[in-house]
């Protein structure tokens, strides 16, 4: 079975600084793939490269048997890649429902004219989108927040709203950038089962950046570790967790 996403020899420079160096991966459809590494090791840059916010200096990104390396971000999203952000980037001046709805709508191609003229077909579609958006909120246990301005929601709910918003674009692959950041142990537990449930229910592939070792080791089926833009280890969680290079990158060199 071919991989859903394959990245080959991806390198990215910021000026003279090499942020990502010869990064490669093959992510199998339906898997949960983890990317870990210390702060500043280039993880979020990799997400920005995949989603087209930056264009890689070298290398190639194949998604769903298509080269998306040079594609515009919104096209990449419409092609089936969604993401969340490390620091929440919810549209705080829209309601929770509108946050989802806007993502749902934009990922489909209704014409500008039909949305202004409000043709009957468009109104029917609008109804369907509203229903689907409400279902997503329900899944994230946010139904009672639908009409609330996003800026009034507490942090944990915003995290879930962001995942719901990403799912609303109908992705094949969802990129989660440190979803457990700032969560307490109970919330982390819930998040882990949520990610697994999302994968099973929506048949999406999950690509996860995380610091929280419990999350990474608990749900990832394959892990890649990078440091200073270079891959230092990869494999099954049990193997990577014992790799001395990984321990060193995270904990520092062990003194004699």
């Amino acid at each position: 079975m071919p991989a859903l996403m394959t990245i080959q020899g991806m390198t990215h420079y910021f000026g003279g600084l090499r942020a990502v160096s010869n990064f490669g991966c093959a992510i199998q459809e339906g898997s949960i793939y983890g990317l870990i590494g210390p702060n500043g090791s280039g993880k979020t840059t990799i997400f920005n490269l995949i989603t087209g916010i930056y264009k890689p200096t070298e290398g190639k990104i194949l998604f769903d048997e298509r080269d998306i390396t040079a594609e515009k971000p919104y096209k990449i999203v419409q092609g089936g890649v969604a993401r969340t952000f490390q620091n929440l980037r919810i549209f705080s001046n829209l309601t929770a429902l509108d946050n989802i709805r806007i993502a749902r709508q934009s990922s489909e191609k209704s014409s500008l004219a039909s949305s202004i003229l409000r043709t009957p077909g468009f109104l029917g579609e609008e109804k369907r989108i509203r229903k689907e958006s409400l279902d997503l909120l329900d899944l994230m246990h946010l139904s009672d927040r639908a009409g609330e301005m996003a800026k009034n929601l507490p942090y944990g709910e915003l995290r879930r709203l962001e995942i719901a918003r990403a799912l609303a674009t109908n992705p094949k692959l969802i990129l989660l950038d440190e979803p457990a950041a700032g969560m307490n142990p109970k919330e982390v537990e819930d998040l882990m089962s949520l990610i697994q449930r999302v994968r099973d229910q929506f048949k999406v592939t999950v690509f996860l950046i995380e610091h929280h070792m419990k999350v990474v080791m608990g749900i990832c089926e394959y892990i890649k570790v990078i440091d200073f833009g270079e891959t230092i280890a990869e494999g099954l969680p049990t193997v990577v967790g014992k790799d001395p290079k990984v321990l060193e990158a995270y904990l520092g060199k062990r003194g004699a």
Partner: protein
């Protein structure tokens, strides 16, 4: 001599304020979306006036007598022409500089403004001199409680009100409006939700330009004299109105515009020179007390 705050002045102030409001909306929307003070915006207003002028002679020749239809076509033409020029300015001048330092776009906007003014002065069909604007709709005056109100006052206020209500509905209710709000808040996140950000930006320029075009037509009818530099002064006033209300904030721009229109009219009734200066004085005062403008929210962004 009665008080300067009489009914006549209030009506006049609302009329001027309506025209400022239509221009100020474009300033504030474009700023809200791309954080650009589009100094060429006043010139879109001038283009609207000239387009209306041309359209009137074109349509009046074939449809003479049908005042209502002609007026509607002239309004459509002025909005379409200004909207098109705004789109073009965005595409040719601002888009290539989108992710360059802000100062480049700002200087470019001044360049676009001067280009439009001098280009239109140099065009043989337009020329630098004043033209008198035709009476598209016959002017009639009625007296209501001591104030003389011409039908133009009603038209100016009504057209502005209809356009502003439509805009509010568009921004609040439609998915396009929600996309505009999303883009204005976080372009990258919007992009990553599948929103075609450039399309939304173009649309914002189109609407802003069209509103300035409508203002150009109304001003042409009300003060029937047009010339290529006519956009400078109202453009500046509308910009002040937008800043006064809190730039980037749509109701703020309208509020600022009416405050300016009324203040200017009252002050002019007292002394016409003070009238010209009062708007600047108000701006300075308000910014001293509320640097974000009347309805503006706190923002970390600096111009």
């Amino acid at each position: 001599m009665g008080s300067i705050f009489n009914a006549q002045q209030i009506v006049n102030g609302l009329q001027v304020g309506s025209i400022y409001a239509l221009i100020a909306l474009g300033y504030t929307m474009v700023y809200g979306i791309v954080r650009l003070i589009n100094f060429a915006h006043g010139d879109f207003y001038m283009i609207g006036a000239y387009a209306a002028y041309g359209a009137f002679y074109l349509f009046n020749a074939s449809l003479g007598g049908k005042t209502g239809i002609v007026a509607f076509l002239v309004l459509a033409a002025s909005m379409a022409a200004s909207g098109a020029v705004a789109l073009l300015a965005n595409k040719l001048a601002y888009k290539p500089l989108r992710y360059k330092p802000k100062l480049s776009s700002l200087i470019t906007a001044i360049g676009v403004s001067m280009f439009l003014e001098y280009f239109f002065s140099a065009l043989p069909v337009i020329g630098p001199s004043y033209r008198s604007f035709p009476e598209i709709i016959p002017r009639t005056d009625i007296t209501v409680g001591g104030a003389i109100i011409s039908n133009y006052v009603v038209i100016d206020i009504a057209v502005a009100a209809i356009l502003m209500v439509s805009l509010t509905l568009l921004v609040r209710k439609s998915s396009l409006g929600k996309a505009m709000r999303a883009v204005s808040q976080d372009k990258d996140a919007a992009r990553l939700m599948g929103i075609n950000v450039e399309k939304i930006i173009s649309f914002t320029f189109l609407i802003g330009g069209a509103f300035a075009g409508a203002a150009g037509l109304l001003a042409g009818m009300t003060y029937p004299r047009i010339f290529p530099y006519m956009g400078i002064q109202p453009g500046l006033k509308a910009f002040i109105a937008a800043v006064l209300g809190g730039i980037g904030n749509i109701p703020g721009a309208v509020l600022g515009a009416y405050i300016m229109g009324l203040a200017e009219t009252f002050a002019s009734a007292y002394n016409s020179l003070i009238g010209e200066g009062i708007s600047f004085a108000i701006l300075i005062l308000v910014l001293l007390i509320r640097p974000t403008g009347l309805l503006g929210e706190k923002t970390a962004d600096k111009i």
